[in-house]
């Protein structure tokens, strides 16, 4: 799920909730006043409470329309793009009066080529301009779309407002035809959507391998509908499996990492599966002295032992479960001993870190990695789950010309994955995309690419002998003549899972450059 699993958001949502409560209070007072006036005028008795409650309920509109021939009740900017720093192209969004499914206008989206200098993909959200809408009377978001060519849109959905993303829903990889076709995104449980602001989300990249080819697609008649023809809900987690994992005491993670989905059968007989935010689900832990799950689906491991987490949506049991074996305390990462003057630190408690934009860019549409900075048992670490690749971006490019090594402490899970094979890449922000240094880690010894570095260097191409133990990896910074990397403007550190090795989760600490 996009943007999910960011634990730090909990604070923001608490804040928002408080603001909301205050607003509601004010509103209520107003209505009580109005009611009193009404009482005097009409001499009605005994219905004060009833009236004020009704009035309060009516503050959230129930409009289902989002874009018919123009935006309906959306914010003035209409389209709120994903962060351009993450590669989102903000130029390709608009409307079209000549190509429409129905009526005077349709949304037109020009998906950029992968190497477009304005950004290699396009995506963002539509937000309700008011306080949010009551969507409990609908069962699906629908729209018509067609492409300039057959292509696949990575993500469409709703419930993302860039604030809470509490009820985010995503339908992935929809296939476009060159003729208009209707798409249906079921609401996992409409009774939850009493005040939703996130009206629509989409994300689309080009066609084929890098640099992907751009294309255009159109969307029309975008609205929430009561179809009545959805049936047979089949909610699921963890691919309907009974998953068992070992984790550390004090760890915290989101159930969003465990493939939460809802499936409805459509009138066409197709089973439509959407990813659904944890807040749609009701979770149960078999032992709350071991694992506790919040309403937002955040699991806290509070004691040793085993706990099985099961769930339901609107009374329907979720297929699949997650059993957590909590083994012991989180191991403490090594403390770096080098003098600060010889270090440029990216993430460490021992040094002053360089400012970063993020430790996880959530790069849509291809990144699956969740997580980022988190605190486990008082230790600040980076925790990555659902890993395929992840990047850390520095706010200001740094000069590492003087540095001889990049040091990373990595903690693999207690149950060590087989065939660990990862790639660490350093990139600068002003050279062409093909000049970078990369280093394979994980002990695999076959050749990969001339820029990969020496696979026989035991300190950089480290072998992980045991899980649950911190391993320090020292990657030599190699001459620009070998790698093409401009060492004066390094701004990106990317870690990739190559050859689909079995690594899905790991922790990082003490990420820094140093000179010997």
């Amino acid at each position: 799920m996009v943007q999910n699993g960011k634990l730090e958001l909990t604070f923001i949502s608490t804040l928002v909730n408080n603001i909301k409560k205050d607003k509601m209070k004010t509103t209520k007072y107003k209505y009580i006043k109005a009611t009193l006036l009404l009482l005097l005028a009409l001499s009605i008795t005994s219905c004060e409470r009833e009236l004020s409650d009704k009035a309060e309920f009516a503050t959230y509109g129930t409009t289902g329309n989002i874009f018919i021939d123009a935006p309906v009740g959306l914010t003035d900017q209409f389209f709120v793009s994903f962060d351009p720093a993450g590669g989102a192209n903000t130029e390709g969004f608009g409307t079209d009066e000549s190509v429409t499914y129905q009526g005077a206008s349709a949304i037109r989206i020009d998906v950029p080529a992968g190497d477009d200098f304005n950004g290699g993909f396009i995506g963002g959200i539509f937000v309700d301009r008011g306080t949010g809408r009551n969507l409990t009377g609908y069962d699906a978001l629908t729209f018509w779309a067609k492409g300039s060519t057959t292509a696949t849109i990575g993500l469409v959905g709703f419930g993302t407002d860039f604030i809470e993303d509490k009820y985010a829903v995503g339908l992935e990889n929809i296939k476009l035809s060159t003729d208009w076709r209707k798409y249906t995104i079921p609401i996992p449980d409409a009774s939850k959507l009493i005040q939703e602001k996130g009206m629509f989300i989409f994300s689309a990249g080009g066609i084929g391998a890098f640099p992907e080819m751009g294309y255009t697609f159109w969307m029309d008649e975008l609205k929430f509908e009561k179809l009545g023809t959805l049936g047979q809900p089949q909610p699921a987690m963890a691919n309907k499996e009974d998953k068992v994992e070992t984790k550390f005491l004090g760890d915290q993670f989101s159930m969003a990492d465990y493939g939460l989905t809802q499936t409805f059968n459509l009138a066409s007989g197709i089973n439509q599966t959407v990813t659904a935010a944890p807040s749609y689900f009701s979770f149960t832990s078999s032992d709350i002295e071991v694992a506790r799950v919040s309403d937002a689906g955040i699991v806290s491991l509070v004691g040793s032992g085993a706990a099985k987490i099961t769930a339901s949506i609107a009374g329907v049991a979720v297929a699949g479960s997650l059993t957590i074996n909590v083994a012991g305390a989180f191991p403490v990462a090594p403390t770096p001993s080098l003098a600060a003057s010889n270090v440029i630190s990216i993430f460490s408690d021992a040094y002053t870190d360089e400012a970063v934009d993020f430790y996880n860019g959530f790069w849509l549409p291809f990144q699956t990695t969740l997580g980022g900075e988190t605190t486990i048992d008082g230790q600040s670490v980076l925790n990555y789950t659902n890993f395929n690749f992840v990047g850390t971006q520095l706010t200001t490019p740094i000069d590492i010309s003087e540095m001889t090594h990049l040091s990373i402490d990595i903690l693999m899970p207690e149950v060590l994955p087989t065939d660990i094979d990862m790639l660490v890449q350093l990139k600068s922000d002003n050279t062409d995309p093909n000049t970078f240094q990369q280093q394979r880690i994980g002990g695999q010894t076959y050749a990969w690419d001339p820029r990969t570095g020496d696979v026989n260097d035991t300190e950089s191409n480290a072998t992980f002998e045991t899980g649950g133990v911190w391993k320090t990896i020292k990657i030599p910074i190699r001459p620009t003549s070998e790698t093409g990397l401009d060492k004066t403007t390094v701004n990106l550190i990317i870690i990739e899972n190559i050859k689909n090795s079995n690594v899905t989760e790991f922790h990082i600490d003490n990420l820094y450059f140093y000179k010997e």
Binding site: G231, Q232, N265, G269
Partner: protein, 285 residues
């Protein structure tokens, strides 16, 4: 529901007397309208509300056993059994259950109930209240077969000469649509006289719906709940072949798996699937 139907029919009888010509014209356009030709069938001949737990009334129903020839002529995949695993009565509901299991060479078991030799009737109103199952390759049906159906000897007739009235057929992969059809000489198998009916803003596997016909010497009316969605007249039938619906028919209720009409189940088809029957009622004039 029942009362409502009766009421609307009484009304239409009055209308029929006054505007019979208009009514006929509208009926041919197949619009669900109260001015359609409707005959009064109010005399309840027999019914089963499945009110006795555990018992499928042997005075009304017989259960099929086996796979027939070529999967009952349609390459169906199920084995029909008379076990309670496949057909049972509980709390006022007849449950017919399609189960995925190896059974005498078949990959699925299910059940088929028939009133053959027990309850047979010429003309009348036949209706049942049913909640349908779901999924690719699931094929429930509520239908009538000519009581003279047989091998052509001893006064019997070979299908389709014996006639078939399909009150409701449904493909589990199209959960909003049912089909009402007539099979007879000149219009059978893949070429019946048929019409489909689609629910608006609802589907047949979410709740119970009433499926019925009203059958006279001159036409057969098809309805779902209180909507009359088709009329097939004797004249229409005789344009294609022979009207073979002037003799007693018996009732069949079954839940098939696979077969030519629906295709095989796929890996998304959930088993078991259940067809729930609240009641079956038969009226005459």
């Amino acid at each position: 529901m029942d009362k409502k139907n009766k009421k609307s029919m009484r009304m239409t009888t009055i209308l029929l007397k006054t505007f019979s010509l208009v009514g006929l014209l509208i009926a041919f356009s197949c619009t669900p309208d109260e001015t359609q030709v409707v005959t009064e069938f109010q005399d309840l001949v027999f019914y089963d509300e499945f009110d006795t737990d555990g018992l499928i009334n042997p005075d009304i129903w017989g259960l099929s056993d086996g796979t027939g020839t070529d999967g009952w002529g349609n390459n169906e995949l199920q084995y029909y059994t008379d076990r309670t695993e496949n057909a049972s009565v509980r709390k006022g509901i007849l449950t017919i259950k399609a189960v995925e299991e190896d059974f005498s060479g078949a990959a699925y078991t299910s059940a088929r109930l028939s009133t053959k030799g027990l309850k047979e009737q010429k003309y009348g109103r036949f209706e049942a209240r049913i909640k349908l199952p779901t999924g690719q390759g699931i094929w429930p049906a509520f239908w009538l077969l000519g009581a003279n159906n047989g091998d052509g000897t001893n006064g019997t007739e070979i299908w389709p000469n014996s006639g078939e009235i399909d009150i409701m057929e449904y493909r589990g992969q199209a959960p909003t649509i049912i089909h009402g059809s007539l099979h007879g000489p000149g219009y059978s198998a893949a070429n019946p006289i048929t019409k489909s009916y689609a629910l608006e803003n609802d589907r047949f596997d979410n709740d119970f719906h009433i499926f019925g016909i009203e059958w006279t010497a001159s036409y057969i009316n098809y309805y779902v709940d209180d909507v009359l969605y088709n009329q097939i007249t004797r004249e229409q039938v005789e344009e294609k072949g022979v009207w073979v619906f002037d003799q007693p028919f018996f009732i069949m209720i079954n839940l098939a798996v696979g077969g030519d009409f629906v295709g095989a189940p796929n890996n998304e088809t959930v088993f078991p699937q259940t067809m729930l029957v609240d009641y079956v009622k038969v009226y005459k004039k």
